[in-house]
Amino acid sequence: MLISRIKKSLFVLIVFIAASSGRCLGDYDYIDITNPFLRKIPMAISSFSAVNRGNDEVDQAVKNRELLRKSLEFTSYFSMIHNKILTSGNGSKAAPPGLNFKKWTASGVELLITGNVEIIDKSIKLKLRLYDTVNKKMLLGKSYKTTINNSRKVIHRFCSEVIYCITGSRGVFYSKIAFLSTSTGKKEIYISDFDGYNPKRFTYSNSITLFPAWSSDGKWIAYTSFAKGNPDIFVKSLDKRQSYLINFKGTNSTPAWVPGKFELAASLSYSGDPEIYLLTGTGKINKRLTRSRDSDLSPTWSPDGTKMAFVSKRAGTPQIYIKNIASGKTARLTFMGKYNTQPEWSPKGDKIAYSAIENGEINIYVIDSAGKYPPVRLTHSAGNNESPSWSPDGSLIVFSSTRGGASRIYVMTAFGTDQRQLLSMPGEQTNPKWSPRF
């Protein structure tokens, strides 16, 4: 008994001492680092090489590399590292066997893209590779063949693969932005690529056109127009072959498509004051969703279609409310300020962007959809910033701003960083709406 006790205690002692001895040489405290030096991933795109070194090829090499760089930069995920010595291509193969990753990581780069262009007759062959320079491995390797004027699409396809590889979602490259412009003297709807490229006119109403809204499959646009002398909602297929009219007496405004359905919510005032109704895409009323004195308008759907945020003046000032369609319960979301409108539900479901007037200025705010935390302001002292709309992956927000005088379309990240102008056309551009991913 005694012996075993002695044994036990000695054993415990020994174990303890042994253990501590193991750590005694390098006992370390944790040094805290809370501020990453870079809040974006450092990426480099080396010059694309031209396989046959022809002038056309060199030209295409430069163009396509530039488009790739711009498109990836647009996502705001990457910080492009420019290093002349490193980015000068040697014009031979796409992936030189001894790709020196070390020299790239030495300048901080974590991702590298190399490219190689070959022109054969009227077609172009693009070989693009994405590398993780720190772990020294290739993440993506693609080879595309297409006509020369289709290379833009191909570059965007590769971008989409890159974003998918890094974030798990396909990004914004296959999306468009609808917006209003008074280029013809009257407000009409125009549609451009996600990066503001190639805006094309969509409506020819020759009157006041407002509130473009994309269906969740991207095939329909609903909007309000005074073309028939009254604010009516027009529902048009993107190819313009089909159209429907929602023209109840009074004001028909702010259409918002239900995710996954040919159904939309809209504000109709035929009952005496603007209320929100659920309608089929053809214009038949399915259900009345609000029943309050004073205005109810601007519906926006949660990505799963179960909840709807909207603006209501029922409490005396325009504020944002959320209605659970199944339970019918409505709760107020915004309590700060006297004028909160234009709510837009993020495709990620967690946040709602909106515009608020404070001290005579309109600015864009974001609030979590549960309303647990105070709202965060994204734009500051730069004219009027309104009409926010989320990119299909919820990473970017497009909006209009009068910071430069005339109203223009701007883009920023979901955190409010990297605010930049999207495009500029004659007249004023307002009310942008980002399409879903095509």
């Binding site: 509130f211 005032s269 205005s295 004028y339």
Partner: protein, 195 residues
Amino acid sequence: MKKNLWVRLALCFVLAGFLFTVSCAKKPMAAPDQPSQEELAAEKAAAEKVAAEKAKLEEMAKQKAIEEEQLRQEEAERDKLAAIEEFINNDINFAFDCSALTSESQFVLKQKAEWLEANTDASVTIEGHCDERGTNEYNLALGDRRAQSAKAFLVELGVGESRLNTISYGEERPTDNGHNEQAWTKNRRAHLIIE
């Protein structure tokens, strides 16, 4: 001797005058039973003249009457137009983000109601407008509220509802393109137009 000369001369003269006048007087009296052609014509002409003058006077009177009538009509027209103008131009103004009627607005609407009572075949569209501040969506709804507000009041005053239409233009059709308090005040309005 001179005196006598003078008396004789005077007598001569008097005699000559007598003879003369007698002879003149004698002439017409010479044909009292036979009027001459000339005399008839002259009479006729004189009568015609009088008639013509009378006619002329009548004509003038008529003209005057017509003119007066015209003038009255024009005045009435002008009054009417003025009333219409007043009807159209006198907007009902609102406070910011408000669709309630001020007492001034109510007064203006009463005047409009009166006009509408006097012009029973007139139909009217009430437009609701907003100033440029705020967002388009909300302003379109606010304009709608303003138009409805004005309409409801007119109906209360006895105007037939079927005669009143409403439309909202939100902030899309300002009447003053300025970017100041003055412009904004003007733009926050309900505006009536006659159809």
